[in-house]
Symmetry: C2
Subunit: 250 residues, 2 copies
Amino acid sequence: MIVGFIGFGTVSSSLSKILIENGCEIISSSNGRSLKTKELIKKLKVNDLNNFNEVAKNCDILISANTPSKAVDIGKNYGSLTNNIFLDLNNISPTSTNEIGSMVGENFVDGAIVGNVNNNKSVIYLSGEKADKIAILKDYGLSIKIISNRIGDASKLKVLRSIYTKGVSALLIETFEIAKQLNLEDELLNILVITEGDNFRNSSKSRIENSVNQLRKYGEVEEIVDFLKQFENVNIEFIDSMKNSFKRKF
Amino acid sequence: MIVGFIGFGTVSSSLSKILIENGCEIISSSNGRSLKTKELIKKLKVNDLNNFNEVAKNCDILISANTPSKAVDIGKNYGSLTNNIFLDLNNISPTSTNEIGSMVGENFVDGAIVGNVNNNKSVIYLSGEKADKIAILKDYGLSIKIISNRIGDASKLKVLRSIYTKGVSALLIETFEIAKQLNLEDELLNILVITEGDNFRNSSKSRIENSVNQLRKYGEVEEIVDFLKQFENVNIEFIDSMKNSFKRKF
């Protein structure tokens, strides 16, 4: 089994590590990449080809894991080059996913990573007609779950999850900000643990720390709201206004 | 120990049941009350006095547990009549709590019930100089926690908790509404359980069921927002707009 990666950042390297440990061959290209990427490719013993064209043509599964802004171009340039499966794992909107799907065609599989990819506790959700062809990576150590055969379902599910988790973070930022001003922070934490469970004590703190002053999350909410405009009967104002909680320091 | 109740609805009767089982004497008055209340008072063997004036004068602790709209009047009429402690347990705003406090004076204790009072899993949070005089009710089976000696802290804490739990309910209503339209309801539930814990499977459902089409919660959010206007650095638009999630059917 040969897996090719277009781009070799955190997601690609974390997945590669697991795949290599389980006997999978990984190919990528360090051509024109940063020194950090070159070193990472060397360190993990990834097969370093001349360019991404070669990577696309010489693998059983081609995976795109990059910065979201490059995802559509990568799909366009390399998605159709491979004769096998092209999996997009970028954190992109369902609209962008469908755009890639229309360019790549039947070999395209839509993927979304949920959970922390660094500690191998993440699950890769897949949708698309050929999602089952990627499910073989379970044998190489990855956690994989097929949602449906409809392109876009994986990214839609990620958006839904993101609305909930971002909203909870925003609520925590606001309530603990008010609690701080009232000198009732510890009391609020203790009272919420009663109904939310012991795990809330740590999860609430890390959610606040990971969300304050996060302009990236502000932008993600704007993208989500753009996607939500097609739906009726949704409290968009509520979802939209959470973005302001990510813009200021706590 | 004699505890008097002004009003005898769900909260009063649930607490009375526990207190009586643990050897406390309960007094109230069915004068002018509904048939249902009269029967409840009889059934629980509550000492039925001629009127609330007598109740106020003949107890060690006087508890007001009514509909929120009557709380201030009850504080005014009976809070000063008792020579002992007056505890307000109504679901009222910190502003109303302080209003009662200024009328009743030093014998006033501010209380908030958190959790389900019906199954004896609730905790009574108290604040005020004389909160420790109510803590004796622990010996009679109640769960009691003193927050501080500042009148208003108990109701403020309840408001803070309410912002969080109502906000989570609103988020669940919205995300599962969108998921329904995308035919991804089960998938969303499964994906959230990974990070939110197994308990989320049931808690999310009951939160949605208890929040859709709840005009009462809509009004409570309006009252909360009114209270929040005194704070700086708070995303009020976000908290305010959650109210619209409680106004429509799911």
